[in-house]
C-alpha cells in the first residue's frame, strides 16, 4: 500500500483523539468520539470538519469562461463574481467525470472545488480540454478547507469577528478575516444544514480549526469526522461520487436534472439527451427501511422475487431513527410510496420509496427564508 497523504490538520486530529482511516489516499478522521453525536451536533448546534483533502483547481485566463461553459453542466459565464454554482463535469458518453462547486473568483477566474478521489483525473480532464488562453493550476496543496456546519455556525463565525458573513446568502462567498486569518468563506456545505466552507492558506488551517473549536465550545461546536459527514449528506440526499455517481452514470438518472442545462451545448449534453430515451434507464430513489436492519451499499433491491435495483448508499439516520438509503432502481419502481425490499444477508427487509431529501428545512436546521 502506498503511503497515505496527510492534510495540514492530521497531527491535530490525532491529538484530539480521532480515529484515522484511509480515504481517497489521505489519512482522515472518521470520528472523534461518536459518529451519532457528531451528526447530532451538525443538526442541533454546530460541527467542524476538516475537508482539506478535497481538490481545488484554479481556471484562469481569457479562455476560462469558454472552458468552464464547455465543461460544466451549467453555464458559468453567467455566474457573478462572489457566487458559487454546483455542477457536473460530464464525459462524451454522458457519464459523470465529477461533481463540483465552481466559484467565480474574478472576471477571468474560477476556482473549482472537486472530490479528493478525482483531483488528478479532473486536473487532466480540464487541462486536456482547456483552450490555449486558459490555464489550469492545482491549488489543492496550498489551500486548506474547513466546513463549519449547523444552526449555530453563524454564532461561531460571529464570535471570531466574522459578523460581515451574517448577511451572506447561500451559494455566495466573501473574503474576510476570521480570528486573524484570511479566508474565503462560502455559505455552502454538504450536510443539509446551514453553514460555511472556509478556504484558507494550508499553513493556517490547523490554527484556524483550533480557533474555531475554542470560540465554538460555548455554542456546542464539536469536531466531526467523515462518518458523520456521510450520514449527514445521506439525510440530505446529496450524491457522493463513487456511490451515486461515476463515469458511467447519467446525471439525469441520478436525479440531478436541476443542475443540467440540456439546452446548452456542453461536453456530454448530446449523449445525455440521447440516454433520456434509453430502455435501460435507471432512477435514483430514496428509501426508508421499515423495522430493523440496515440496507447497505451493494445490496440488491427486490420487488417480489425480482431484482430491480441496487443500493448505492445506506445507513441509519440519527435524525429519523430508522435506516435510510439511496438506490438505483428500474423506473417502474421509482414512485414515492412504492413498496420494495432489500436483501440483507439473505433476508428480504421491507423498504418503501420516499421523498428526498430525507431530512430538510427545519429538521435539517436550514434557516427559513
Amino acid at each position: 500500500m502506498t503511503e497515505l497523504r496527510r492534510t495540514p490538520l492530521a497531527a491535530l486530529h490525532e491529538r484530539l483523539g480521532a480515529r484515522m482511516v484511509p480515504f481517497a489516499g489521505f489519512a482522515m478522521p472518521v470520528q472523534y468520539t461518536s459518529i451519532v453525536e457528531e451528526h447530532r451536533a451538525a443538526r442541533e448546534t454546530a460541527a467542524l470538519f476538516d475537508v482539506s483533502h478535497m481538490g481545488q483547481l484554479a481556471l484562469e485566463g481569457p479562455g476560462a469562461i469558454a472552458c468552464a461553459d464547455r465543461l460544466c453542466s451549467r453555464a458559468m459565464g453567467t455566474l457573478a463574481e462572489g457566487r458559487v454554482r454546483y455542477a457536473l463535469l460530464c464525459n462524451e458518453q454522458g457519464g459523470v467525470v465529477d461533481d463540483l462547486t465552481v466559484y467565480r473568483t474574478g472576471n477571468d477566474a474560477f476556482l473549482l472545488c472537486v472530490n479528493a478521489s478525482n483531483t488528478e483525473k479532473d486536473l487532466a480532464w480540464v487541462r486536456s480540454h482547456a483552450p490555449a488562453e486558459a490555464t489550469v493550476r492545482d491549488e489543492s496543496e496550498a489551500i486548506g478547507l474547513l466546513a463549519l456546519q449547523g444552526p449555530a455556525a453563524i454564532a461561531v463565525i460571529r464570535a471570531l469577528g466574522g459578523s460581515a458573513l451574517e448577511s451572506l446568502r447561500r451559494f455566495r462567498f466573501a473574503r474576510v478575516e476570521l480570528a486573524g486569518y484570511r479566508v474565503l468563506a462560502s455559505r455552502t456545505g454538504y450536510t443539509g444544514a446551514d453553514g460555511f466552507e472556509l478556504y484558507c492558506d494550508s499553513a493556517d488551517a490547523s490554527a484556524l480549526f483550533e480557533a474555531l473549536l475554542e470560540a465554538g465550545g460555548a455554542h456546542g461546536l464539536r469536531p466531526a469526522g467523515l462518518g458523520a459527514r456521510d450520514t449527514l449528506r445521506l439525510e440530505a440526499a446529496l450524491p457522493l461520487y463513487g456511490h451515486e455517481l461515476d463515469d458511467t452514470t447519467s446525471p439525469l438518472e441520478a436525479g440531478l436534472e436541476r443542475f443540467v442545462e440540456l439546452d446548452r451545448d456542453f461536453l456530454g449534453a448530446e449523449a445525455i439527451r440521447r440516454r433520456q430515451d434509453s430502455p435501460d434507464r435507471q432512477a435514483l430513489v430514496g428509501f426508508a427501511v421499515e423495522g430493523r436492519g440496515i440496507a447497505r451499499e451493494g445490496y440488491r433491491v427486490l420487488s417480489g422475487a425480482d431484482t430491480v435495483g441496487r443500493v448505492t448508499s445506506g445507513a441509519p439516520s440519527p435524525t429519523l431513527g430508522h435506516a435510510i438509503g439511496l438506490a438505483y432502481v428500474h423506473p417502474a419502481h421509482a414512485a414515492v410510496g412504492t413498496k420494495l425490499a432489500v436483501e440483507v444477508r439473505g433476508r428480504a427487509i421491507p423498504v418503501h420509496v420516499v421523498e428526498t431529501p430525507f431530512v430538510s428545512g427545519e429538521t435539517a436546521g436550514r434557516p427559513a427564508r
Partner: protein, 129 residues
C-alpha cells in the same frame, strides 16, 4: 487509543468476545476494545434461543453506523438466552459492554482455549502496534 477495560475475572477470545462462567451457564459479550473499534452500535442480529453455537464460527452480526461485523462464538453450546434489550437499545453494547450490553447465554462446560485477561491484553496491544 483510549484506555481499554479488560476485567480480570473474564475469559476472552481472539475475536474480542468475553465469556463469564456461572456453572454451565456462560454469558457472552464483546469487549470494550471491540466496542471502541466499532463505534456506535446500531443493530445486533442474534440467533434464536435453542440454536447451537460452534466455537470460532459466526453466530450473528453487529452493525455500527459505518460497517457490518461478524460475531464469532467464543465457546460451543446451546443458546439459553439472548439479550432482547439490544433490539431496542443496541447502544447498550457501547455503554456497558460487560454488563447490560451482554449478548447471549450459552450452556457449555468448556472454556478451553480462551485467553485470560493478561493474555487478551497482550493480544490487543499487539494489534495496536
Amino acid at each position: 487509543m483510549a484506555d481499554t477495560s479488560i476485567p480480570a475475572e473474564l475469559r476472552y477470545s481472539e475475536q474480542d468476545e468475553w465469556a463469564r462462567a456461572e456453572g454451565e451457564r456462560v454469558t457472552v459479550g464483546i469487549t470494550d476494545y471491540a466496542q471502541q473499534q466499532l463505534g456506535d452500535v446500531v443493530f445486533v442480529e442474534l440467533p434464536e434461543v435453542g440454536a447451537t453455537l460452534t466455537r470460532g464460527e459466526t453466530f450473528g452480526v453487529i452493525e455500527s453506523v459505518k460497517a457490518v461485523s461478524d460475531l464469532y462464538a467464543p465457546v460451543s453450546g446451546e443458546v439459553l438466552e439472548v439479550n432482547e434489550a439490544l433490539a431496542d437499545a443496541p447502544e447498550l453494547v457501547n455503554q456497558d459492554c460487560y454488563g447490560e450490553g451482554w449478548i447471549l447465554v450459552v450452556r457449555t462446560g468448556d472454556l478451553e482455549g480462551l485467553l485470560d485477561a493478561k493474555g487478551y491484553a497482550e493480544h490487543v496491544a499487539q494489534r495496536e502496534d
